[in-house]
Symmetry: D3
Subunit: 113 residues, 6 copies
């Protein structure tokens, strides 16, 4: 696991803990729900991660994209599958997604090396 | 095929022909590309339709959602798979997607009947 | 209560029931959470409805705006408070919110009459 | 001028008057500013209408698109210029703009006939 | 006042001056209007800052969020009020707002310390 | 050409090559189309760059804005033309575009010096 990925995971975890430590039940419920929807079900976890990745891409949320790129790699998505998700996101969301595609492909490649 | 679905397909096709009849090569290329990305590849066509559906949902494009709901049904997505895509889109995109989820579920049900 | 408002509430309720009747636990949890966040708390319910209205306006979700306009009226927001929410939403979200402001003001006025 | 265009203009004008009749100075200032930015300046009014059209398209605001399509026609934009704006908007904003492009091209054609 | 907040305010002020120094009357009018809408009125300034914060959150504008977090603290919003705004924004805008919620909560906490 | 601009162009070019080196034909076609729409046509290249800039601004894509600011300067847009595009984008897209306007104006000025 690259340093970049480790740092991302660590910072994300620390900030999540900080948010969850606050006394707001609705925020906690949302965080729980956000984990639940990506679990194996009628669709398997890999397909769900790709759905998370594609939706994050068209909504252009870099942190969300980074998270789902990491998860998609860990769960066994292939290069061609990853690129096809990028292609669909790019066509659906337009050229404004390209900077995010560049960064996603860069991270994908770094994790391979 | 319900009347609603038939009408949607007919109107979509007619307007697409009108747009393609215009003399702009870039618009034609975009339309061709928009068809190409959903074809079977490393990911199968069903998964790609679900990616198209989820991205359309979070971007809240009713016509796009209608199109991908119809395609997802035709290509054999199950009730549970469809609902899981709705759930992911709803969590990623928030409560503002709910009116679109309502209409998508309504169309899904109508096509079943 | 105007016919338009009654129809909106009835259709919304019927579609919500249809969605909730489906067998997806995450969708149900999201719907429950969506109700919970607008309840009286540190901020009172009226302020929360205005927050729901302003966020719906800048995200340009007509159904969401209609819902929060009705709720804001029922819960006792005044004309001036309503207009100030519209003004903030318009400045934050830009001229693309204007068609939604027009429809929101129209509904607000109809409910008054 | 087609009936559709007349109706659109009339309804828009009536609702604008209703909004302006309300007692909120900031909303009035925003409406004034919204008119001012499209006036002849360093860029001529036609170019500004095309900028208004392109931005409305990528933000997918149907009422805004209709307004700028009408204005662009009135101010003398040609078929090829119009199509090129549609092409740029489509590439920048992605396939989710296509339903709006269809409707814009349909209105453009109706105004020609 | 933390160094981070001081730096943010200083840079924001300098860039605002640079933009206002340019010779465009419409940009100046927009900046003036952007200040005006948050002033005490039918709704008090605190409520308006919370509306500014919630709309900035769902539109995922980090600079805007930072600005309104600082203003909300200065104007006396409590921890529980702040968290409830975050919760509403998160439910309305979905999980793509979470990275912004993390950063907003982090800044809120830093200002407390 | 400033160091900042050189660095931006170099990194953009390197990442584009990395993306194009991947084996996905649809991504390549999208990149080609993204170049094609800004070429001289019924509208000249300068007008098209301004359309690219305005749409990037309202969609708040910093990398896209940077790219079109550089291109607009290189192709001979004047200060007043640039500011008018900023003003239209700001009015259409709202105060959430202001942080991007600040950065765009800053880059525009740096390129002048």
């Amino acid at each position: 696991m690259s340093d970049k990925v480790k740092r991302f995971k660590k910072e994300r975890e620390e900030l999540n803990q900080m948010v969850l430590a606050r006394d707001n039940i609705d925020i906690k419920r949302f965080f729980a729900l956000d984990n639940a929807v990506y679990r194996d079900g009628a669709l398997n976890a890999k397909t769900k991660e790709l759905l998370g990745l594609a939706t994050s891409l068209v909504l252009r949320c870099d942190d969300c994209i980074t998270y789902h790129v990491i998860r998609a790699r860990e769960i066994g998505a292939t290069d061609a599958e990853f690129d096809e998700v990028m292609a669909i996101g790019m066509v659906v969301g337009g050229s404004i997604t390209i900077p995010h595609v560049r960064r996603a492909e860069q991270l994908w490649k770094e994790m391979e090396d």
